[in-house]
Symmetry: C2
Subunit: 334 residues, 2 copies
C-alpha cells in the first residue's frame, strides 16, 4: 500500500504539500497541485482513513441504535438516516439493539472510544446514563422517533398525543363509543403519549374510558393478532380497534376475520405509521402517516449541526402527522 510519503517522493514535494493538495487545494500552487495529483494517480494512493481519523480526531461515523430493523417503520427511518449521512459525508454504524440496553450502551460507547462522533438513538433510552442527567459529559446524541420524556439532547418526534387524539376523534365521529386500544410495549413514552391522546378524545366526547379496552402489544403482527383475540373475547365487544402501529392492525384484522366478523362492517380497525402495506391491505388501512425518512434526515442534520457547532434553530423538532382515512374504518352499525 502506498502512503503519503511515497507520493511526496514521486512528486518531489514534502508530505505536507501532498496533504494540503488533498485537503485544501487552494493553498497550493496549480503547478505543484498537478504534479501531486499525477503522483497520487500514479501511485494509486488512497489516504489511510484510520490514520486520518486518528490524527484529526474526527471519524465521520455515526452510531445508529435501532430497536428492530425488521420493523418497516424503522427500516424507513434508517433509510433516511443513511441517505442524509451520505450527503454530509458521514458513515452509519448500525446496531439493531432489539431493545437490549446493554447492547445499546456498548454501541454508544463507541463514541467515547473515538470510533464514532455521535449517536442517533431511536428509542427512549439514554445509553449514556452515567453521564449525569445534567448532560454535563454527554457525547453528541440525537433522540428520534420514540424520545425521552426529559431529553438530555435534541429530539425529533411526532406529536403522538395529538395524532392519537385525532384518530380517536375520527372513530368517535363514526359513532364508535367502545374503542379498543392495542398499545405498544410497556414503559414506552410513545405509548404513554398515545394513550393520553386517546383518553383526551374520549373525555372530550364524554365517553367513559374502560381499562379493559386497553391491550398490551409489541408492534408485531402476532401481537396485534393476539390482542385482537383478547378484545374480541371481552364481555362488551368494542366496535373499533385502534392499534398503535400498522403491523398490529394487520394482525388484528386477520384475527377479526377468523372470528367470522367483517372489517369495517362489524369492527373498524385503525393503525399508525402508514407503512406501504397499509394502502395495500384488504381493506386498506386507516392510519396516521408519519414522515419516517424525514425523522432520519432531521436526526442526522441535528447531530451534524452539533458537531460543527452550528446553532440549531430548534433542538426539539416535531414533525407533522396526517390522518389517512381508508376503508378499514366505517360508521358503526346499530
Amino acid at each position: 500500500m502506498s502512503n503519503i510519503r511515497k507520493v511526496a517522493e514521486l512528486a518531489g514535494v514534502s508530505v505536507a504539500t501532498v496533504s494540503r493538495t488533498l485537503k485544501m487545494p487552494e493553498r497550493v500552487s496549480p503547478l505543484t497541485r498537478d504534479r501531486v495529483l499525477a503522483a497520487v494517480e500514479q501511485a494509486g494512493y488512497r489516504p489511510n482513513l484510520m490514520a486520518v481519523q486518528f490524527r484529526s480526531r474526527k471519524t465521520r461515523n455515526l452510531v445508529v441504535l435501532v430497536p428492530v430493523i425488521a420493523n418497516v417503520f424503522f427500516a424507513r427511518v434508517i433509510s433516511g438516516i443513511q441517505e442524509a449521512a451520505q450527503a454530509f459525508d458521514y458513515r452509519v454504524l448500525l446496531c439493531d439493539t432489539l431493545g437490549r440496553e446493554e447492547v445499546e450502551v456498548a454501541y454508544a460507547e463507541l463514541v467515547r472510544a473515538h470510533q464514532a462522533d455521535g449517536v442517533i438513538q431511536l428509542r427512549a433510552f439514554n445509553p449514556f446514563s452515567d453521564a449525569g442527567s445534567d448532560g454535563a459529559c454527554m457525547p453528541p446524541m440525537v433522540n428520534a422517533c420514540e424520545v425521552l420524556d426529559i431529553p438530555p439532547c435534541p429530539t425529533v418526534r411526532l406529536d403522538n398525543r395529538a395524532a392519537a387524539r385525532e384518530m380517536t376523534e375520527h372513530l368517535l365521529g363514526l359513532g364508535h363509543r367502545r374503542i379498543g386500544l392495542i398499545k405498544g410495549p410497556q414503559g414506552s413514552p410513545l405509548t404513554r403519549e398515545r394513550i393520553a391522546g386517546y383518553e383526551d378524545a374520549l373525555k372530550a366526547a364524554g365517553v367513559d374510558t374502560d381499562p379493559a379496552l386497553i391491550c398490551r402489544g409489541n408492534f408485531t403482527l402476532q401481537a396485534g393478532y393476539d390482542a385482537a383475540g383478547q378484545l374480541l373475547a371481552s364481555p362488551e365487544r368494542p366496535t373499533a380497534f385502534f392499534c398503535e402501529n400498522d403491523e398490529m392492525a394487520i394482525g388484528a384484522i386477520k384475527r377479526i376475520r377468523e372470528a367470522g366478523l367483517r372489517v369495517p362492517d362489524d369492527i373498524s380497525v385503525a393503525g399508525f405509521d402508514d407503512i406501504p402495506f397499509a394502502a395495500f391491505c384488504d381493506p386498506p388501512l386507516t392510519t396516521i402517516a408519519q414522515p419516517a425518512e424525514a425523522f432520519g434526515r432531521h436526526a442526522v442534520e441535528m447531530l451534524v449541526a452539533q458537531f460543527e457547532q452550528h446553532s440549531l434553530e430548534a433542538t426539539h423538532l416535531v414533525l407533522p402527522h396526517q390522518l389517512i382515512v381508508r376503508g378499514s374504518t366505517a360508521a358503526v352499525t346499530q
Copy 2:
C-alpha cells in the same frame, strides 16, 4: 480523555505493560495486572479505538451494501448480519445503495481506505470491478442473496431455480396452465434463475411458455399491482400469478380484487420470501420461505473466516428454501 500513558503512570508501570494487561493478560503477573486494572478503573480509561485500529491495521468494521433496506426481506438479512457481526465483535457500516453503482463503489472503497476490513454485498454487482476478474487484488468480500453469476468471492445463496420450479410445479399440480410471472428488475441474475426454474417446470409438464405471461416488476407493492393489471388485461387471462416476492404478490392481490375477481377462486397468487406479512394477508400467501437472517449470519461467518484465514468448508453456500402452501393458491376451477 485519559490515555494509556496516564494509566501507566498511575499504575507505576510502562505503557507496554498496560497494553499487555488489556490484550494478553496471561502474559502479565497477577500482581501487576491488578495494579493496572485498578489504574484503568481509576482513570476511567477507554482505549482509543482509532489509535488501536490504526496501529494494528484491523478495523473490525464490515461494509454492508444493501439494495433497499426498506424491503422487508433485506431488513431481515441485515438483522442477521448485525447479530452475527456483534457476536464476532465486528461492527456494521451500512449503506443503502438503492442500486446506485457509484454509491456501492464508493462505500466498497472504504476497505481500501482502511476504514473497514471487508464487504458484504447483497446485490449481484462487483464494486471492485477494477480489481480484475481474476480476483487478484480483490479485497475480502462475500456476496449474498443475489449473487454474481461468476463470483469472484464466496457466496451465500438460494437455489432460486429449484425454488421457482417447485412453486411452478405446485401451481401446475393445481391444474393451472396459464401462469403469469411477475419478475424482478431487469438484469438481476436472481430473476433470471427464477424464470429458468419456472420454464423448467412448464417444459417438464409439456406446457408451452408464453412470453406475454412474463411481466417486469421491481419488488415493490406498487409494481405488483401494476403488473397484475397488465396480466389481467391480456387476451387470455392467466389463472395463476407467480410473483418473485411477497410484496408484489400482495400488490397483485389488491389489483385482482379491484378487478372484481377473487383470490384464489378466480386467480391463484404465489409469492416468494415468506415475509411476516405473508402469513397475515388475506388470503394468507403461498410462498417460498427463505432463511433471511441466516443469509446474513453466514455471510458474516464467511467473511470473518476470510480475514482470519480459517479455511471455509464451503465457499459457495446454498441455503434451503421451503414451499409454504397457504390459502392464496387453489385448484383451477373450470
